[in-house]
Amino acid sequence: MIETENLTRKFGDLTAVDDLTLRVDDGEVFGFLGPNGAGKTTTVRMLCCLISKTSGEASIAGFEVGKDADALKIRKLIGLVPDNVGLYDDLSAYDNLDFYGKLYDRSEAQRQESIQRFLTMLGLWEKKDVTVGTFSKGMKQKLGIACALVHDPQVLFMDEPTANLDPESAKTVRDFILELKKEKRTIFLNTHNLDEAQKICDKIAILNTKLMAIGTPEELERSASGRTTVVQLVQLTDAILSTIRKLPLGNLVVKGNTLTIDVKDPETENVAIVDAIYGAGGHVQTVTVVGSTLEDAYLKLVRRDDK
């Protein structure tokens, strides 16, 4: 659905996005993580045909980003929830949605149906005639999402949709994204929130001007430092230690009768470890796999890049 190849954007001497290559499949929730200034918003703006690319290629549903003839077609099939909610405070919730519905050439019946549907889903239908200026931040954010959906887009770009929201509002927005996921919409989600990304994204990319990593949340967790296996023995002997050291494993830390070993693939390597221990005459009390988190992976990649 969304593809980029060596996508680059420069502002004068500053490179905001460098050589970005990624692919987002149809119906996927794609998390785009990165620190402030990493180029996330610039990438979204390029994909939404709001700003031009300096070089590289990008396409959405087969339409070419950067080609004038395709720009309106792309904007018609996408919805954007910008980082600033950007609503008209003097108008009612209904009028805000109706305005955007008209700009997307929706008929009156289609607009009425969409507005009722999304405001009801977001718990705002009762407030449809209330001036938006009186809404709380959470209500505005929900309405902002509804504005981006009123034309029923196939692809939704969301730039930090839960930033600055209280936990309850943030959860409502997250739950709503999960509802949209069930409808098989493709969602491109810019976020700082690692927990959020882990909970709702099928695939995650970590950007720090350049693409640092891309994969499922599980793949990224593993890529951080693999995983760690902690083996608790009845009695650790020199023979066991010598046997373990001969295995092609990662870093080994010994503390009392406990071995802490970095492994890449616990499912196969743990079997070899236990077999080796039994082979050397040892007895295993417990084997625990300690995985690294998405946060570990994120921090490791971003800090490595900063150095």
Binding site: R45, L50, I51, V85, G86, L87, D95, Y100, L103, Y104
Partner: protein
């Protein structure tokens, strides 16, 4: 370019204006006050010259110059709306969402232009109609005929006033790129009325004869040239790329 898209944007702005009392007051009340005050001033002038009133020769100089006052209004009033339509969207941070819709830069610019142009124009022309009717009422006795309507007033109101309003709207688009506060935009935007005020003062001082059709057509031609020049600059300023990456 699809006019329907521009009209949707303009209609939304009209709805917003209806909720903003300061905008309503400035576009309705100011022309109305001017339109009432000028005939009252001329009527009061009837007490001059020992009660015989302002002389007909003086009236035929004053009245065309007063008509020119509407040109100043046409330069002043659209600033209130024009600065709001674009800088207001910047302040409310709604421009990015609007720019992400399937509309072209020209359609958005035209929509904003219509929103800033039509209401002030309607109010200025409405005020001018009141002015002309009342002025005829108070001067008919002295002149012996209805001074308004006349061709020169028609040139001022239906050619020069729209041209002046267009220039102000375009100027405000350019100003909007450089400021992020509605009041600052209004203050800078209103600078354009200074040449109009200068022409009005020159007319009052009899340095320019604003009562001749030729002079009015020359000023209208200059305004048209200014409109075209400002349109070129405004179009270059109002581009998605510029708005999102260079506008303050």
């Amino acid at each position: 370019m699809r006019l329907s898209k521009s009209w949707i944007i303009a209609s939304k702005d009209f709805k917003v204006f209806m909720k903003k009392k300061n905008i309503l007051y400035s576009i309705v009340v100011v022309p109305l006050i001017i339109s009432l005050l000028l005939p009252i001033a001329i009527g009061y002038g009837g007490h001059k010259n020992g009660g015989s009133g302002i002389r007909p020769a003086e009236l035929t100089v004053l009245l065309p110059a007063f008509t020119f006052f509407y040109l100043i209004l046409a330069g002043f009033i659209p600033t209130t709306i024009a600065s709001y339509t674009i800088v207001g969207e910047k302040v409310e941070k709604s421009l990015e969402r609007l720019l992400a819709t399937p509309t072209t830069d020209a359609e958005i610019l035209l929509g904003k232009g219509i929103a800033a142009f039509l209401p002030p124009l309607a109010c200025v022309l409405g005020g001018a109609t009141v002015f002309m009717a009342l002025m005829d009422l108070v001067t008919r006795g002295t002149l012996g005929y209805n001074f308004f309507p006349n061709w020169n007033a028609a040139i001022v109101l239906f050619v020069m006033v729209p041209f002046a309003a267009i220039a102000i709207v375009e100027w405000n688009v350019i100003v909007s790129a450089r400021v992020s506060d509605v009041r600052v935009a209004q203050q800078v935007g209103v600078v354009v009325i200074l040449p109009f005020a200068g022409i009005y003062v020159a007319g009052e001082l009899d340095l320019i004869n604003l009562g001749t059709t030729n002079n009015l057509l020359i000023i209208a031609g200059i305004l048209l040239a200014v409109d075209l020049l400002l349109l070129f600059v405004a179009k270059a300023t109002f581009r998605r790329e510029e708005i999102l990456t260079k506008w303050k």
